[in-house]
Symmetry: C2
């Protein structure tokens, strides 16, 4: 994901220093002129912009709190945080940047890696007006649409977490429908083909419908490619619902379903 996004930044003319846990991942970027660094903090340079795209809250915290990261970014620097993490973590990081005089924008993205490659990500943003304005040209180089959810850090992440919850619900619904249909003598692929061409023309149905239909008998949320994302983001949704004291029986059910067997 990060690689595809970085490629689009290089294409747009930006000069990059890149870091990835797996060093080889940076190679295609280095071939195009990026400088590969051996520690995350080295990707940050005085008063410039640093972009993070990582797995989860702890990976993000590890980077920001790694030795020298904040000092290297320094006053006037901008951290563009694009991972899907908890809004609470995002707010803490924003406060941490405040202490150092650097700025923070959260900008979680919707779309699979192919969308990142094609510069077709949908990006939600939150942060101070000036910081967002500064981030805009970079976001524009990575996405096809940018949606501003205000100044309050955490707001863009709430929207992202809600969107993922709606997607995962759609997947579980397709799984139950394909299973039931198959047992009733219907070809699930034929059914999903019809449904995703007519009433359910959204990407989640069109992309995952095929995959679910051909594996109708055995597929589960845990069996999806990258099911760790489902586990993480349903967990984030449930956490926010509990904190806000809103009823979320569907989120609770998905959370139970995904927790039933050991994660892969």
């Amino acid at each position: 994901m990060g690689q595809a996004m970085a490629l689009n930044l290089i294409k747009a003319g930006y000069t990059l220093r890149v870091y990835n846990r797996t060093a080889g991942r940076a190679e295609p970027l280095v071939a195009l002129g990026a400088e590969s660094v051996s520690r995350p903090s080295e990707a940050a340079t005085k008063g410039n912009i640093v972009i993070t795209m990582v797995t989860d809250d702890s990976a993000l915290e590890d980077i920001v709190r790694s030795e020298g990261f904040m000092e290297r970014l320094g006053r006037g620097g901008l951290h563009l945080s694009m991972s899907t993490v908890s809004p609470a973590t995002s707010r803490q990081l924003a406060d941490f940047h405040d202490e150092y005089g650097s700025h923070y924008v959260e900008a979680p993205v919707f779309g699979p890696p192919e969308a990142a490659t094609a510069r077709k990500l949908w990006i939600c943003i939150a942060g101070s007006k000036e910081a967002k304005k500064r981030a805009l040209p970079l976001l524009d180089a990575m996405g096809q649409g940018i949606f501003d959810f205000g100044e309050r850090i955490g707001s863009a992440l709430i929207v992202k977490i809600c969107g993922n919850f709606i997607s995962f619900t759609a997947m579980e619904a397709m799984m139950e429908a394909c299973r039931m249909a198959q047992k009733n003598g219907i070809n699930p692929s034929e059914m999903m083909e019809m449904l995703s061409r007519t009433m359910f023309t959204a990407p989640v149905y069109q992309n995952f419908g095929k995959l679910i239909a051909i594996n109708a008998e055995q597929i589960t949320l845990q069996g999806l490619p990258n099911s760790w994302i489902v586990v993480k983001d349903i967990g984030l949704f449930k956490e926010r619902a509990v904190m806000a004291e809103t009823e979320a029986p569907l989120a609770n059910l998905l959370n139970d379903l995904i927790s039933e067997s050991p994660s892969p």
Copy 2:
């Protein structure tokens, strides 16, 4: 729904006899040349085609088993059954027609009344080849696409029931997401506007997203307009899943949610 469909048949040049429980509903059709009859059986004429679009299984059974209905339709008649009912009921009716030498095609439709008016229904069909061929011009006058699920009666209804289940799941997901977002300081309308323009471009999100967002705090599946359809069709889905012995935790949850308070 039936009125809008009948109007399109009249526009396509068909001569209709129409019956509705509420007599006034037939008036716009009569004004265009349809003959209004006072009993359902009088809508059936020897060897011709009769179309039914009714509330549920018992309403459909009442019509077909009403005095004189089968005799009036007679040998070579065709019953085009377009309501969403149980596949089991549909099969029983098909057998009943067999006894009388008449034919039966099931043709449940996807789309709201506005889609019926605009001749934009999506129609799934099942039945014998010859009977479907005979029904095709009429279906074509009512819908924008016809999807053939074979000869086995019940198959088109399974697809319709699966489609509605997927829709209702999407609605519950939007309700939980809007509720959680609102409590977290996000404007749910702004969120649904973004989501339904990007990742969730299907009609269920675009049409119901607005309604759910503006009522985020109190809306439930039971509070939806026409929530009796949700009750009925989730019931039909659950019934088929139980009969087929497939796991359907999401369908069970929706069934519980919709059964919690007395139906309106």
